[in-house]
Symmetry: C2
Subunit: 433 residues, 2 copies
């Protein structure tokens, strides 16, 4: 199909939507070269409040509509860019666009993580593409590598720092010895964390992204609810101190592994060796390490969020959709599931653990702790007894275990908590080698 131009429709005029509108205008010439045809922004569906924004005035108000029906009635739109985020009404808009035979581009991790399979199936029926590079890792190529560059690989592992907010907080805690509340406050002041930061700090955002990557990598529909998730709020500056002494960094990792048709997916803080490359991924940057049987280990690194990096990915997707239209290729990326796979129960996880216990400062305590662990067949790799608090008559014990089953560790933690000499299980963190 030889077209004179390709029409783009935009939903949303927030950070991402505004960035996309600006780039489509300012780079029209080079994008036309890339796409093989001019890309013309035809219409935008926005909220009432968006109409007051300077960009809306620059572009001309007749360009905008607050009415979804009017937007979807526009005949010259070939590609719909959804940039509003959140589950609803984004899902409805995407379905409506696909059903109307339009290619869609979205930066919406929640919708893709929860409803991707449904959208891909609908798009396949309609012969259009669903593009979502911007949903994970901002401008870092991730979806595209899984869909194209790594297709010959059986992926065995994904180890990803994919939430910039938490990585910024952890970096500050590690570098400056800050406690969690003040590092969070600083992140909020800088605009790296939202006023209500729960989605980031509790790991929820990372589960959406991991669900997307793991589904692509393992050819199994991983749902966010399948993912074991723990946030970073229970980390203490002491944990960073001991981690460093032991040669580790602490990161919030999104981990996906595949072995024997069992898929392991979890998001939680981990100890990783401080000389590993992932340990060097600091601040708001993201780093995603992928292990494949052919390619070995590859790492992708960059800014995981922000208007410009996210626009970079959205526009790349728009160009890709445009090439599919220009070449008449329909949708090119393939989505299929391999049968016989299932999620590995968290209880079957086997890993090393770091334990920090606040105990009574008196002889025989370590023996009691060791006995509880031993009864669960958890063997200790090293113990550090830390300076005691002479007023409270307590001491701190830091334990690194050998690999142990989560099914053994959880009851052991329960037992430890019941010991009279254990004042508190101050923390326990899994170790990823």
């Amino acid at each position: 199909m030889k077209k004179k131009s390709i029409g783009v429709g935009l939903i949303g005029l927030g950070v991402v939507g505004s960035g996309v509108a600006r780039v489509l205008a300012s780079k029209a010439e080079v994008l036309a070269e890339q796409a093989g045809c001019p890309l013309v922004l035809k219409r935008a569906k926005v909220l009432e409040a968006d109409l007051a924004k300077p960009l809306a005035k620059e572009m001309g108000l007749k360009f905008f509509t607050t009415d979804a029906d009017e937007f979807f009635a526009e005949p010259d739109i070939d590609i719909v860019v959804e940039a509003i985020g959140g589950e609803m009404p984004a899902l409805d808009y995407l379905k409506r666009a696909i059903t109307g035979g339009k290619h869609v581009v979205t930066s919406n991790k929640e919708v893709i993580a929860k409803h991707g399979a449904q959208l891909f199936a609908l798009a396949q029926q309609q012969g259009v593409g669903v593009h979502y590079e911007a949903s994970v890792g901002g401008g870092i190529p991730l979806i595209s590598p899984f869909q194209h560059d790594l297709v010959a690989n059986r992926i065995s592992g994904i180890y990803a720092i994919i939430n910039g907010t938490t990585n910024y907080i952890l970096t500050r805690m590690a570098r400056e010895g800050t406690d969690f509340p003040s590092a969070l406050k600083r992140a909020q002041e800088l605009g790296y964390a939202e006023a209500d930061p729960r989605n980031d700090i509790e790991g929820i955002d990372a589960t959406y992204k991991l669900a997307i990557l793991a589904s692509l990598a393992f050819h199994y529909q991983v749902q966010p609810r399948d993912i074991h998730c723990e946030g970073i709020s229970r980390l203490d500056s002491l944990d960073f101190k001991y981690a460093r002494e032991l040669g580790y960094a602490i990161k919030l990792l999104a981990i996906g592994k595949q072995a024997d048709n069992l898929i392991e997916v979890r998001v939680h803080p981990v100890f990783i060796p401080e000389e590993s490359l992932l340990a060097k991924v600091d601040g708001v940057y993201n780093g995603i390490l992928v292990e494949g049987d052919l390619v070995g280990r590859v790492l992708f690194y960059g800014e995981g969020a922000g208007a410009l990096p996210t626009s970079s990915a959205v526009i790349a997707d728009v160009v890709s959709a445009a090439r599919d239209i220009v070449t008449g290729a329909g949708s090119r990326a393939r989505w299929w599931l391999e049968p016989g796979k299932k999620i590995k129960p968290m209880a079957e996880l086997e890993t090393r653990y770091y334990l920090r216990l606040n105990v009574a400062d008196r002889p025989g305590v370590l023996a009691q702790v060791a006995k509880v662990l031993g009864e669960q067949k958890i063997s200790i790799s090293s113990v550090i007894q830390k300076a005691a608090d002479s007023v409270a008559q307590t001491a701190e014990i830091v334990i690194m275990t050998h690999p142990a089953k989560e099914a053994a560790m959880q009851p052991a933690l329960g037992e430890l908590e019941r010991l009279a000499v254990v004042k508190a299980i101050s923390n326990f963190i899994r170790v990823e080698a």
Copy 2:
């Protein structure tokens, strides 16, 4: 065009060719899913000597031919994989395949660097694709990100460790204080360096790869001969010692920059800050940092060579070509040049320099050296006078300069060499911040 299967023809049964043949066979099922159609290896053009290889016997000798005419007469080949390397006859084979209407996939950096433009033009006429992901960085996605994911960006810089052999040698020299000859010897024993290592250690291999990346990134046909190239053989263990003292690592970097339509391309050893991510890319690994106006800095990291990683990239290209055939898209990647650009002369380079001088151990020497640099308007950032050799009555001076023009530094080096008090310019290395 609905096809029952897609025929692949293979040229070469070396490390890469054998890897590709094995993967096509062992992963037939998953590759058929990915391509949308089975991929069938139809015929291989090999050398007489290859027929004795175990793989040739496994696959059946009738499958092979040593006769190029017979290979190209095979009607059922849709995609030709060229895996022989070197300029000739690879270039002829690729042209012949393209002219015959076949898509081509190659891992041949030399042919693409020197003759890419010609092949792309020919392929465009024929409506087929030239795929060369495996030509740079083994299985690390690099060509594809430039062709797809980063298309919305104006790329300002590429900073790449893209030769595993030299990076292995430099890593050993840095970690173990080894001198260059023994580090090279060790690399040869491990199979990381060839018996004749010049292509790697003189930086030539890196210029081919940089020519490919820079051409893609800057939309200008960069030829290998445009690239200023220096190898690593003049590096001494002392340079690593001083680099560490000053807070730097030494890497062979392939650097491409674009500003004001001037393109700067060079391959030479550099000092880079030891806390930078590229400084952590060690051993045979490759790391490629790309700077774009939207995406910011992204880094790609992985194994840059080897049968399996390279096969990962070749097969991904085969699948991509197959999708183009299945969807009737012809070639999808676009190749075009932007007018008005030119190569920046090396003399106009402005950078900081590290100088190591062997001088007479007597008063007033530093004043003479400083005077020569001052006359060329090169200002000194720091000087370290190193332990003297009391027998030879010489001392070592290590100088870090402020940013200076190459056009000033080169004559200054000439002047320094002529000073009676300067016994030798032991080394000079550019600094990349």
